[in-house]
Amino acid sequence: MIEFRGVNKWFGPLHVLKDITLSVEPREVVVVCGPSGSGKSTLIRCINGLEATQDGDLVVDDKRVGDPATNMTLLRTEIGFVFQQFNLYPHKTALENVTLAPTHVRKTPRAEAEKAGRELLAKVGLADKFNAYPSELSGGQQQRVAIARCLGMRPKIMLFDEPTSALDPEMISEVLDVMIAVAEEGMTMMVVTHEMGFARRVAQRVVFMDQGAIVESGTPEEFFSAPRTDRSRAFLSKILRH
């Protein structure tokens, strides 16, 4: 479904992605972790073309990303992306946030899109917030709207970039619960997160990055119980200690 083959990327002189090779199968859930600045965000942002790669092949849903022949706008409709800072449209209500892309991109009739939007919002537990504006919602609620917004496009893949790290601690679980539900329905997912409980529960694979390279990759059990490199051990000790 997603395949990196020897992908490299530079920001000016900075080599942020080093020879990345990684493939994600349909219905697989992959968690990406690693220290700050290690290139996790860059990695998943490349998948829907928010960042351009400079070397290597990146094939998503059988289409080559960055190939002029690929219609990126079309490909993006197949990929949901959830941001750390939610990025809801502040001038639209929760329901409008969810229906905007379906009506304008998929050209779904408004009535139909609204019906689907209501169902999605109910599914993420916000049946009573259809007409609330983002500023009237808590962080956890906003992030759930953001997930519903992605689901509204019926994507084949969902990408999450630290979806819970801007949240107050008590709101983290409500978002994780929604993500777990989505994973259990069989969505292909790549999730940048430090929530190791989530990784243990639904991930088939954990990928550990450091300084732009994939240092280690394995099942959650392997990774948490027997990290193979010093760097991953040091990292785990820091984030699991408190």
């Binding site: 706008t73 993006r76 992306f81 941001f83 449209y89 905007l100 991109v105 496009m153």
Partner: protein
Amino acid sequence: MIWEQLQDLIRSYPLALRGLGMTVMLSLISLVLGTLLGFGLGVLRATGNRFISAAIGTWVDLIRGTPFLVQIFLIFFILPELGVELDAFTAGIIGLTNLAACFICEIVVAGIRAVPKGQIEAALASGLSLWQRMRQVVLPQAMRVVLPPLVGQYVLLIKDSSVVSAIGLTDLTRVGWLAVQRVPNGLLVFAIVGVGYFLVCYPLILLARRLERRMSAAHGEVKL
């Protein structure tokens, strides 16, 4: 003596009203046109390719960097040599519209740049096209930043419209000049002209301040 002069001035109120009418008319037409054009240029400049953006930038610099009087003269007196014959009113409208568009373009660009990058990325990620991104996501949010300085710019442009009198349009300032011939009291005459402009501009200033307060209330203003 002041009293007589005042009476003399009051007697020529039809002329003054005509001047006020001309100022309002010129400003209204060119501000509407200039706003439309300015938004178009601003969007092009913020999203267009490098070449278009640089071309618009150069034009804006040329217009901002030279006296408006010179621009008006070029339009009215030099364009005819290139085969474009314009009457004074049209030339005035064109000059003022162009000036307004250039200033508004800069305001719009700043507004668009103030929209957080995450908003554009969110729109990109859900597959909205360039036009849909602008129309649905960027412009509505940019308006919050654009509106207060836009209204403030209107006030400046209304005052700049007085320059157009140099090509023979009888606007408020020119009525002042005409009146000074008969009532040689510059202080009095131009104080009245000032009141005329104040009547047109002050409501706009109040509007700009209201908008600004609304916007900053939404962002939480700082207590020192």
